[in-house]
């Protein structure tokens, strides 16, 4: 490659990756980043799609929203906060010293093929981990070292409602690169300075005029599509107003199994528990996913549980997203509308109709009083 050509490549901000070259490009990127891609997981009924670190054998799967969001890239299911070991104090054998070892991880990471809703999940979590009362250094180091190459979404189904909660299939908030999947491959556009390195590492040509036009058309379509029809206005007052009305929560959640599916598939459910996993004198402090749908989540040492049944727990999940979170964080609804909780709920509980129901009951109650 001539130096002149190389210089030209460097400033290229829009490239085209032919379908058949994708793995080659991702392989190249993997030398510089830990690259996560959505893949069909083996040996299930051929449905489950998960984000996994890319290997040359990976077959990235882009035509359906992933079953599990890429949440674990930033918030792993189990994360060692630090390791520790008790050792005898050499000066005073009756005492023990504690040795702590930092384990913070800050690998350069690229998520290739997330969707607008997936990324919005992190934008929402940022309020808690970066912009709230406490700064979470673990989250921060991962977040800062992770880039998102996000698909313009063409795959909405009847559980999606991203447009109802401030997003949309073309929304690029929080993303670094826009991917538009066309019939022959992928048009990539850098959206900020961070993207430049990735784009140049791809070593691809710019799209042809036709490919550009194709991509633009798809982007226009996505921009104009309204996905979902939930009206979230008034949800804060409705949840507050109906908090004690257990009848409405029974109507909504009587069939709930109190399992953790909805929380674990949710890009904006960030609750965790912290445990000391120790064996002998060595151990680690572990942060792992927790779920407000679990009994243990609010179990107090006295034996009392302020959320004794699934009804209070479901109320919390909905309330957190559509009332308490917006109250605390400037009106932000803590749901990206990905529809995963709806799709994966074993008993088909639909958070959209749940919000509508609470609002409806609340507005009727208001008229009467």
């Amino acid at each position: 490659m001539t130096p002149a050509k190389k210089a030209k490549k460097k400033i290229e901000e829009k490239i085209f990756i032919p379908q058949e070259k994708l793995n080659e490009v991702l392989e190249r990127l993997s030398k510089h980043f830990r690259v996560w891609v959505p893949v069909l997981s083996s040996s299930s009924n051929g449905w489950t799609v998960e984000f996994r670190p890319f290997t040359i054998e990976s077959e990235p799967f882009f035509t359906r929203q992933s079953t599990m969001p890429p949440k674990s890239v930033i918030l792993p299911q189990g994360e060692t906060l630090f390791q520790y070991e008790y050792v005898k104090n050499s000066d005073d054998p009756s005492k023990q010293d504690l040795i702590l070892k930092e384990t913070i991880n800050a690998e350069k990471t690229l998520v290739f093929g997330a969707r607008p809703c997936d990324v919005r999940g992190f934008v929402i979590c940022d309020w808690v981990f970066l912009r709230g009362l406490y700064l979470d250094v673990y989250y921060k180091s991962r977040r800062e070292n992770t880039l998102f190459a996000t698909l313009v979404c063409q795959d909405a189904d009847d559980a999606c409602f991203c447009s109802s909660v401030g997003g949309g299939p073309g929304d690029m908030e929080g993303s670094d690169i826009r991917i538009t999947s066309t019939s022959e491959g992928f048009v990539l556009e850098g959206l900020n300075d961070r993207a430049k390195e990735v784009i140049s590492l791809c070593e691809c040509d710019p799209p042809s005029e036709e490919q550009s036009r194709d991509a633009q058309r798809i982007q226009e379509e996505a921009k104009n599509r309204i996905i979902g029809s939930l009206d979230v206005s008034g949800s804060v007052e409705a949840v507050k107003g109906q908090f004690q009305n257990m009848g409405v929560w029974r109507d909504i959640a009587e069939s709930c199994l109190s399992c953790g599916v909805c929380t674990y598939v949710c890009p904006t459910c960030y609750c965790f528990t912290i445990t000391d996993e120790i064996q002998g004198l060595k151990g680690e402090r572990l942060r792992s996913w927790d779920s407000c749908m679990f009994h243990q989540y609010t179990q107090e040492a006295s034996g009392h549980n302020p959320r004794p049944t699934k009804l209070e727990r479901y109320r919390n999940r909905l309330g957190h997203k559509f009332c308490y979170f917006p109250l605390r964080y400037g009106g932000v609804i803590a749901c990206c509308g990905c529809g995963r909780c709806i799709r994966s709920c074993p008993v088909s509980i639909d958070i959209r109709s749940a919000v509508e129901r609470v609002k409806e009951v609340h507005s009727n109650a208001c008229v009467c009083s």
């Binding site: 079953t67 953790g260 996913w289 709806i342 994966s344 074993p346």
Partner: protein, 322 residues
């Protein structure tokens, strides 16, 4: 046909309403493929209930899990059951979790239940489903992308493909005609036998591969009508602590082993544990192996006879076979 059965169900329920004060049934969810359990407490809501091959959930767990659906003084709970669900009821009655006299069991012979994921895979996922119609074993789906037809057999849940008891084994009212089982009892564990042909290494790798995807959401446990420890499951106990929170295969395997062993000789193979798994892990398969051992050692099949005592719930020093 399913509309007729649904109407028949409404009629039956209206007739028995004086005896019962709650009904556990199914209603339509957010699209025609997605049905949800519903608890009906008044006659006017009976019309919400449906019955068709999308009624996948086993409702019997709601009768025992906190807060349990129970009937008022002197009244009964009416519960709708398919063949496999009825076996869960039998098991719960055997173990004295349920009083047979307080139940009004409405059974429907089952032609198999449908896995929405398989249907979506066939029609392409970027669609809105408007209508699903089943006639003569053919499922016709109207969706935003057009019309699609498929045979029911091609979209059944795994549990239904290996079902030997599609007809309720216990009921007060039976709606519809009995059906011929898809497989004979003698073939129940052929998948287990096939799997055991594989080398130890292969089997080990299979389980490591599938179980490593487990996110420990515990839906498999919570959906199981016979997992009755509920909020006191040792998977989450901290004092004493049995299983760590680490998402490693070792810990996941311990959880699943405990789950399976607690169901040994009790599991009625309703397949709920497997159906509800968000990441598609075939967890019932573990229990199938235990049931196969159970059948071989004790000639016992769970959930068939309300009078019988499950082998691991009794102690007989002269047990034949051990």
């Amino acid at each position: 046909m399913w509309n007729e059965i649904t109407e028949k169900l409404h009629e039956v329920l209206r007739n028995v309403m004086p005896q019962v004060d709650v009904v556990l049934g199914w209603e339509r969810g957010f699209n025609p493929l997605r049905i949800k359990p519903v608890v009906v407490r008044s006659e006017k809501d009976i019309s919400r209930l449906v019955w068709n091959p999308f009624c996948v959930q086993n409702l019997t767990g709601y009768l025992v899990k906190n807060p349990a659906v129970i009937a008022g003084e002197g009244k009964k709970v009416a519960v709708c059951v398919k063949g496999c669900d009825s076996r869960s009821l039998v098991a719960l009655i055997q173990e004295h979790f349920l009083d047979r006299d307080r139940l009004l069991i409405i059974g429907v012979p089952c032609q198999g239940t449908i896995d929405w994921r398989l249907v979506m895979k066939k029609i392409g996922n970027t669609t809105t489903v408007f209508n699903a119609h089943i006639e003569d074993g053919i499922l016709r789906i109207e969706h935003s992308g057009g019309l699609e037809q498929m045979s029911i057999e091609s979209v059944l849940l795994r549990r239904c493909l290996r079902c030997a008891y599609p007809n309720p084994v216990i009921y007060d009212v039976l709606i519809g005609e009995t059906v011929t089982p898809r497989i004979d009892k003698s073939e129940l564990y052929r998948n287990v036998a096939q799997f055991e042909q594989k080398s130890l290494e292969e089997r080990r790798n299979f389980w490591i591969d599938v179980l490593s995807r487990c996110v420990r959401c515990y839906a498999c446990r919570n959906a199981c009508p016979l997992c009755i420890c509920q909020d006191w499951c040792i998977a989450e106990r901290r004092d004493p602590k049995w299983v760590t929170q680490r998402p490693t295969i070792k810990d996941i395997f311990i959880f699943h082993s405990i789950h399976a062993l607690h169901l040994a000789g009790r599991c009625t193979e309703c397949g709920e544990c497997e159906r509800v798994c968000p990441v598609g892990i075939p967890v019932m398969f573990i229990k199938e192996k235990l049931n196969e051992i159970n059948l071989r050692l004790f000639s016992y099949e769970a959930g068939l006879d309300p009078q019988a005592v499950p082998p691991l719930l009794t102690f007989n020093p002269h047990e034949a076979g051990i």
